[in-house]
Amino acid sequence: MSAPAAPASRAWADRYEMVVGLEVHVQLATATKLFCNCPTTFAAPPNANTCPVCLALPGTLPTLNAHAVELAVRAALALGCTVHPLSVFARKNYFYPDLPKGYQISQFDRPLATGGQVAIGESPEGAPLVAAVTRVHLEEDAGRSIHDRFDDATAVDLNRAGVPLIEIVGEPDLRSSAEAGAYLRVVRQVVQYVGASAANMEEGSLRVDANVSTRRRGDTGLGTKVEIKNMNSFSAVERALEVEFARQCALREARRPIAQQTMLWDATSETVRPARSKEDSHDYRYFADPDLPPLVLTSEWIEARRAALPELPAARRARLREQFALGGRETEVLTGDPRLADYFESVARVHGDARAAANWVLRDVLAAMNDAGLSLAEFELRVRPADLAALLDLVRDGSLSHTAGARVFAAMVRTGEPPSRIVEREGLRQVTDDAQLGAWVDAVLAAHADEVRRFAAGERKLQGFLVGQVMKRSGGTADPRRVTALLLERVDGR
């Protein structure tokens, strides 16, 4: 999947290549913070979710959240990492108003997990493209400094301070903005699949920093690394990488040095600009946090977590392709949301025809959700998988025509009733009785004599129109195959 470079960088694509490693911070879906019992609820009043510990009052101490460890381990295993039986918390020391202790509790020398991989697609030759994950570690989030709420001061809200994060550090294996986008989408999907996080960039439960360097194509060394922050969506990440790549290539072409620095993405102007920083601001003086003995996990415990992992997206896609004979694009859409794939599988199992189930789920279900603004959970309350399967059964056995089926489906979405009840009440059962069908056909032939004449004379495409008219008269209940046969009999004398 070496995607074609976006316009901004096409000029340089032959001479230079982009080398990207991403750092992804994911908020873990726990009820309480990493080191205290404060709730992690979103949008609480400022500083309501704080206590002596996360306010860093004198004399307070951290205590580790068991569920955060569970979720972090699940995510690390799902990313193919080795989870270490012993890992150590370390203090990262620096000063900032939303960092109450004056240090962040993170992991440094001995992180929770190392060495994973993310499959980001295929090369043009069909070989799998894999980007390596360097490490996954646990750390606490900082609070928020809000600079524009008051004219005369910065406002500090510590509700977010202490919320559990995992930091997923990727090797500089990505070679294009498209690969970076693919990497992020896979990582997001994986952490969602294992229930570790909502991983939503818009809500802040997933954040990305990018490390970008450039080099001549064919070189193997790494150029100067520039860090980019403040990207608020996947497309912003892709765009920022393109802009930065172009900037670095221009410098190289002009034989000017590339300074190692941190840049901020400005979404409004679509530019990167330097974040001014003091030279000494990066001596974090890491040391093992003496308030927390090491995290010790037995190998039995770790293996039990591995065994309990849900089927991961790539494996599920493969199984769906094999088991239900679905195409690549279809499995991608279905596995985009694990519950959508669950829904499909339930329908397919009950109804038996996976193709029909796939068509209806991918087309009609998604469209209905979209039109009515329903989430899958809401949709499923109205149209349970068994209901949809029952509808498909009715269509397959001829009780309902496709058109009637669509009408029944719409009614099911509206009312939440099972298909059988709707069919009975609205009399939508497919009519196969020749007498009734014949009557409708005759009526249409009478009403559209001109079209009939033209059809008989050779304009065969009018068949669709004429059959459609019969369907309309029947309220969609006519069996379209039988109608066609009867129509041809009358017109062509067959």
């Binding site: 002596p52 205590t63 109450p100 004056g102 240090y103 003086r285």
Partner: protein, 491 residues
């Protein structure tokens, strides 16, 4: 002479009488407040007690007297206590002897304090201390030095000088202090009282303002070994709010006399090690003589006394003064004027940090933060910090090795007698006061000081050191020695 007990009784006896309903808690607390006035415990003279609220203390006593609570065990019923000012309490400020926290009242209470109160103790004051526990004389308090009640021209020791002085002056029978390098034992020795540093992890640090987290422990000061054991029993034990608190059951520490065995030779089954590194030629000869006399007593009590060696002892002070300031530089980063404490505003947040911290911290704290930041900083981390961690392990190993051969160790607590106020100005000379005490903090083993005599009227402390969780044997030996010495300990 020994501190005059309140109402002529030990804490244990007072609590029994109050719990039995024959002595009102109000009487005990009033006696304490009267004694405080009589000796000038506050800023007017000794400056041992920084903050007090007599009305609140008497109300608390009245509540105790009025409440039924007879079925609740109240081992410290009505006992007045002083708590060092770096331990969080409700109502009374917790300033850590610093301008940085001037007027700060903690909105939560330390676990150790909560346990004392649940046992019926009444808080009558906060003890003066070297700022943020950094010091060995209580001269580094932002609120003025504390005078040694035995000789008011001299220091009481530090950093828990106020707590030790309060016990020595008979204002309270029990006080809480804190230890990082000897800050309970050294003032106990200088003031002629008992001071215990428990095994690391024995007492919760929740509510103890951190100086050096891997060394800090709350300790107990009292006039007698039994009272100190009583207080330790009350405050010790696992706390889910402190991840470093040990999951180790607290044994019965009292009665401190073993009922079994020969009453004349109660220590017959024990061996006491005397490490040669703690008895250098530079030790004051008359101090040495009192310590030797104490060792004689131990022999007479039946103990086998052996010469032992802790070879890395001389490395303790340099090791301690790399590790403790390093942790402190990080622990004190939270004092930035943003969420609590004193703020000196500047133009922008960085300027506010700098002004707040330069004016909030005194010179010794500033020195140690600089030192600690330096040894952790890029380029020096391996040579200093990591190296010190490794040497620390060697010091701990010394103890592990020696406790394979003996049950407890006996040493001097301090290298000198209490020195005059203002006499020691060189920082490193002051650090050397910790030469015999810092080893136990570095290793995490329990240690305590008991009075063994006086020289020129100044107290001499003898130190006992035991293996991890060895408080029972340590207290047994201490109690036997205390009984054998009798009044000799205070002459």
């Amino acid at each position: 002479m020994s501190p005059t007990p309140l109402l002529g009784r030990t804490a244990a006896a007072l609590a029994e009488a109050v719990a039995a309903g024959v002595l009102p808690a109000g009487d005990v607390v009033r006696a304490s407040l009267d004694r405080a006035r009589a000796v000038g415990a506050g800023p007017e003279w000794l400056n041992a007690v920084l903050w007090t609220d007599a009305d609140a203390a008497l109300e608390e006593a009245a509540r105790l007297d009025a409440a039924p609570g007879a079925d609740l065990p109240r081992p410290l019923a009505g006992v007045p206590v002083v708590v060092k000012d770096n331990i969080a309490t409700h109502r009374l400020p917790t300033t850590c002897g610093s301008r940085m926290l001037e007027g700060y009242v903690s909105p939560y209470e330390a676990t150790a304090v909560a346990r004392l109160r649940a046992a019926g103790a009444v808080l009558v004051g906060k003890g003066n201390m070297d700022e943020f526990a950094m010091g060995s004389s209580t001269e580094h308090s932002a609120y003025g030095a504390t005078r040694n009640p035995i000789d008011p021209a001299r220091v009481p020791g530090g950093s828990s000088g106020g707590s030790a002085a309060a016990v020595a002056a008979g204002v309270v029978p029990i006080a809480l202090g804190s230890e990082t390098g000897g800050s309970v034992r050294q003032p106990a020795a200088f003031c002629g009282v008992v001071g215990i540093k428990p095994t690391y992890g024995r007492v919760s640090r929740h509510g103890l303002v951190a100086y050096a987290s891997s060394l800090d422990q709350i300790g107990v000061l009292a006039a007698t070994v039994d009272d100190a054991a009583l207080a330790l029993e009350v405050i010790a034990g696992r706390d889910p709010l402190d991840a470093t608190s040990a999951d180790h059951p607290v044994p019965r520490l009292r009665p401190v006399d073993a009922p079994d065995g020969d009453a004349a030779r109660p220590l017959a089954a024990l061996s006491v090690g005397v490490p040669r590194e703690y008895f250098p030629p530079s030790l004051e000869p008359r101090m040495r003589a009192r310590l030797d006399r104490a060792v004689d007593h131990l022999r007479e009590l039946g103990a086998t006394v052996r010469d032992v060696s802790l070879p890395h002892t001389a490395l303790a002070v340099p090791t301690y003064y790399v590790l403790a300031p390093a942790e402190a530089s990080s622990n004190l980063a939270r004092f930035d004027g943003v969420r609590y404490g004193r703020r000196i505003a500047g133009d922008g947040v960085q300027a506010t940090y700098e002004r707040t911290r330069s004016q909030g911290f005194g010179p010794e704290v500033t020195r140690r933060i600089l030192l600690g930041t330096y040894v952790l900083s890029a380029g020096y981390h391996e040579a200093y910090y990591r190296k010190a961690q490794e040497v620390r392990a060697l010091i701990a190993l010394d103890f592990a090795n020696v406790f394979a051969d003996v049950d407890v160790l006996f040493t001097p607590t301090t290298p000198t007698l209490a020195f005059p106020l203002g006499a020691v100005s060189d920082p490193y000379e002051m650090y050397l006061s910790d030469v015999f005490t810092a080893t136990a903090n570095l290793a995490g083993v329990p240690a305590m000081s008991v009075p063994v005599g006086r020289v020129d009227g100044l107290p001499v402390g003898g130190q006992l050191i035991a293996p991890y969780f060895g408080e029972p044997v340590m207290l047994r030996v201490a109690a036997a020695l205390e009984r054998a010495l009798g009044e000799e300990a205070h002459r």
